[in-house]
């Protein structure tokens, strides 16, 4: 287990290095010039700015400086916001995205497990059909449509009721988080419901359930002790990719609900061609996702001993 953990961590570091290099190569091939526009008005200012950002060095040297700074956890200074460090930007905006993401993952996992178990229990009956129809809808409708429609219906609902049930946009209190998190988690919830359903059905037809029934256990005990516990395992494996999908999917939800998260900031930085912010955010997100996937895999091995043996 320790050896496996070390191996995975080593692989993770290599992957992050690959992401950082790909980002560096990508950003150096962006057409145009970070100092173009009205900032570098004359040659002296231009030279000073180039020296400040290290752009007067050869590309290979820039790459090593970039790597060294990255190892130290220093992502540099923003190009468009004077004297603002990329680290500050991440420190300020990432907790917002993370809170939203954690809530969304919670919604998705709880909803997925609950609805998946329900559909399996009511197989080929009305609740099954209704939930599976909603699941197909959840997989097919893009999150931004859900975001816009939920906002629209919330506005109408608030108008009809005369008071505000939930705020339509913005950030700050728990009530601000509920709707965006639900919208963000919906697609993943649909996917997890499907997964949970097939995994439940598989467990239900297995031998140990028949044995449990034969020895006279009550149906509730079989359900909670034997079925649910075993059926949840595959859902945990997809948690890693789900976290990745939800954190990056947050862009749209942050945009629509006017949430000051890192995703919205990234889109803004791309539009303004803020080189250091783009590179810093990409590498940071990349590293975050890589280690999240590793973490989920390790947790999975801890929960399910069968995986550890392989």
């Amino acid at each position: 287990m320790w050896w496996y953990t070390l191996k995975r961590l080593f692989q993770g570091v290599i992957t992050v290095w690959f992401i950082a290099t790909a980002t560096f190569i990508g950003m150096h091939n962006v057409p145009g010039d970070p100092l173009s526009g009205d900032r570098a008005t004359n040659a002296t200012i231009r030279a000073n700015l180039e020296a400040r950002y290290g752009l007067d060095r050869p590309v290979t040297e820039q790459y090593f400086i970039y790597m060294r700074n990255m190892l130290r956890g220093d992502f540099g200074i923003s190009y468009t916001q004077q004297n603002r460090e990329v680290n500050d930007i991440i420190r300020e905006h990432f907790p917002v995205s993370a809170t939203l993401g954690i809530l969304a993952v919670l919604f998705a996992a709880m909803g997925g497990i609950l609805f998946g178990a329900l559909t399996a229990l009511f197989r080929n009956r009305l609740p099954d059909y209704i939930i599976m129809f909603l699941v197909i809808l959840g997989i097919s409708v893009p999150s931004f449509v859900f975001a816009a429609l939920s906002q629209l219906s919330l506005v109408n609902m608030n108008n009809v009721l005369g008071f505000s049930i939930l705020p339509v946009a913005g950030w700050g209190t728990v009530s601000h988080m509920l709707l965006p998190a639900l919208v963000l988690g919906l697609g993943t919830m649909a996917y997890m419901t499907r997964l949970m359903r097939s995994s439940m059905l598989e467990v239900m037809s297995s031998d140990y359930i028949r044995t449990a029934r034969a020895k006279g256990l009550s149906p509730t005990r079989i359900f909670s002790r034997h079925q649910l516990r075993n059926a949840v395992l595959p859902v945990i494996t997809v948690l890693g990719p789900a976290i990745a999908a939800i954190t990056t999917g947050g862009f749209v939800v942050e945009l629509v609900f006017a949430i000051p998260g890192l995703g919205r900031y990234f889109v803004q930085a791309v539009q303004q061609l803020d080189y250091t912010v783009i590179m810093g955010t990409t590498v940071f997100y990349g590293a975050f996702l890589v280690f999240m996937v590793i973490l989920v895999d390790l947790v999975y091995g801890w929960i399910d001993p069968r995986v550890r043996l392989q």
């Binding site: 097919s140 409708v141 931004f144 816009a148 791309v270 990349g286």
Partner: protein, 464 residues
């Protein structure tokens, strides 16, 4: 094998059934090939069949639609901006506009009626005049889309008058055929609202001049038109967007972009993934592990971040639509999943008994690939392809929605949703139509993918 004379002498002809066995009982049913069987199973799956028809309908909409509905998706109908489907499109013919001067034009105004309309309110102009409000040293004119209830919420301020002489106003600002609520509020000496105001309701009528009718070719005989006649403006079955462009034509143009990316990108990256995975699986050994390690790296790249990054790297110049950069970015980032899948399949099939048997019979490498490997992976590849289409359409819509996809004025369903979001509260049709198109398309391809998986691959069949 060379050392064994028995096996070397064996030829396929040696394995032909003996003639004496031809008297064996005949098959009850004619034999069906794998594909015939799969087609039969797909046909019996109602959901998959419906989605197949939906996709055919969608392709017709995209490619035959523009031949039937010949409206330029970039053409702006400035008389009908943000018009919902099925709206009244009548317009009254009027004389060309003449500037209004409250005093010199004789409109029979006597005063004493408070805030009132002079003449009929039309989209050409709305003319207001009012009597002096006691204690006012100036006025501010407001326009609102909703009935005014509160002195603090009178709507859009149109004009501020800092004297008490002018007590009339002519509104010509972007008038639509709807009901407006005008207010005149009294101002004190310092220009602050005193709280006194008067309101009125104006039902604006859409009008058009003869010259405009002629320019837009709305009447067969424009010279015979008299003021007061009705003409019908051009027809937009699904309404228009915020720039007066025809929604139906734009949905068709957007379908072309979305389906172009949604079909072409998966075709390319699945093809590349198949080649990559098949080579890797077939060669095996060290080469295989290096190839797969590289694929793992590409998988680890945060997908959307790199999609956006690539959009920046390729750069969208002026006049370009940004479709090609998105296509390339999708191909670069999406191939590893297919490569992994195909590699796994090849490794599995390589160990199958029938492949060993064929090899034993002296089948060549090419024969093995063409006769056994490809046909047996084709089902899986087809299923992957079907599921890759909605994923690619989703990605395109997502990127265009956040403004990182196709560049305006190119229409795509995602960018139309983005534009529709801004007017969601007042004109929801501009958001709902493109959103529904995306959802239906993605739904159809997902259901077809489910059906194909069930029909083509017994091993992957899910327990639904």
């Amino acid at each position: 094998m060379e050392n064994n004379p028995v096996i070397r002498r064996l030829r396929p002809a040696d394995l032909e059934p003996l003639s004496s066995q031809s008297a064996a009982p005949l098959l009850v049913r004619p034999s069906r090939s794998y594909w015939q069987d799969a087609w039969g199973r797909l046909k019996s799956n109602k959901r998959a069949l419906v989605s197949l028809y939906l996709i055919i309908g969608l392709l017709l909409f995209t490619f035959a639609g523009p031949l039937v509905w010949r409206v330029d998706p970039a053409l702006q109908d400035i008389d009908q901006i943000s018009v919902p489907p099925g709206a009244d499109r009548g317009a009254m013919v009027v004389d060309p506009f003449v500037a209004w001067d409250n005093v010199s034009l004789d409109d029979g105004y006597q005063g004493g009626t408070g805030l009132s309309l002079a003449g009929d309110p039309t989209t050409q102009s709305v003319r207001l005049h009012w009597d002096a409000i006691p204690g006012a040293s100036g006025y501010r004119v407001y326009r609102n889309n909703y009935p005014t209830q509160d002195a603090d919420a009178l709507g859009l301020p149109l004009l501020q008058i800092n004297n008490t002489q002018q007590m009339y106003y002519e509104d010509r600002l972007d008038l639509r055929a709807q009901t407006y609520y005008y207010s005149v509020a009294a101002l004190d000496e310092s220009g602050q609202l005193t709280g006194d105001y008067e309101s009125l309701q104006a039902d604006v009528v859409r009008v058009i001049t003869v010259n405009e009718v002629r320019a837009r070719d709305l009447s067969d005989n424009p010279d015979a038109l008299q003021p007061g006649d009705q003409v019908r403006l051009s027809w937009h079955p699904l309404g228009t967007d915020y720039l007066g462009r025809d929604m139906l034509a734009r949905l068709m143009a957007g379908a072309r972009v979305s389906l172009f990316i949604g079909l072409l990108a998966p075709l390319f990256f699945v093809a590349f993934g198949v080649l990559y995975g098949a080579t890797s699986g077939f060669v095996g050994g060290r080469f295989d592990s290096v190839m797969m390690r590289f694929a793992d790296f590409v998988v680890a790249l945060p997908f959307l971040l790199f999609m956006i990054l690539f959009q920046v790297v390729f750069g969208i110049g002026p006049g370009e639509s940004g479709i090609v950069p998105m296509l390339i970015a999708l191909i670069i980032l999406s191939w590893p999943a297919t490569a992994r899948l195909v590699r796994g399949q090849i490794l599995q099939i390589r160990e199958e008994a029938y492949v060993s048997a064929a090899r034993l019979l002296g089948a060549s490498q090419n024969y093995l690939i063409l006769r056994h490997m490809i046909p047996n992976t084709l089902g899986v590849i087809l299923v992957t392809l079907t599921f890759a289409v909605p994923a690619a359409i989703f990605t395109e819509a997502f990127l265009s929605f956040i403004g990182m996809g196709v560049a305006p004025p190119t229409a795509s369903w995602g960018s139309m949703c983005n534009e529709g979001l801004k007017t969601m509260l007042t004109h929801p049709h501009e958001l709902i139509f493109p959103a529904a198109m995306i959802s239906i398309t993605v739904l159809a391809f997902n259901l077809l993918g489910d059906g194909l998986r069930d029909a083509l691959d017994a091993k992957m069949r899910n327990t639904e």
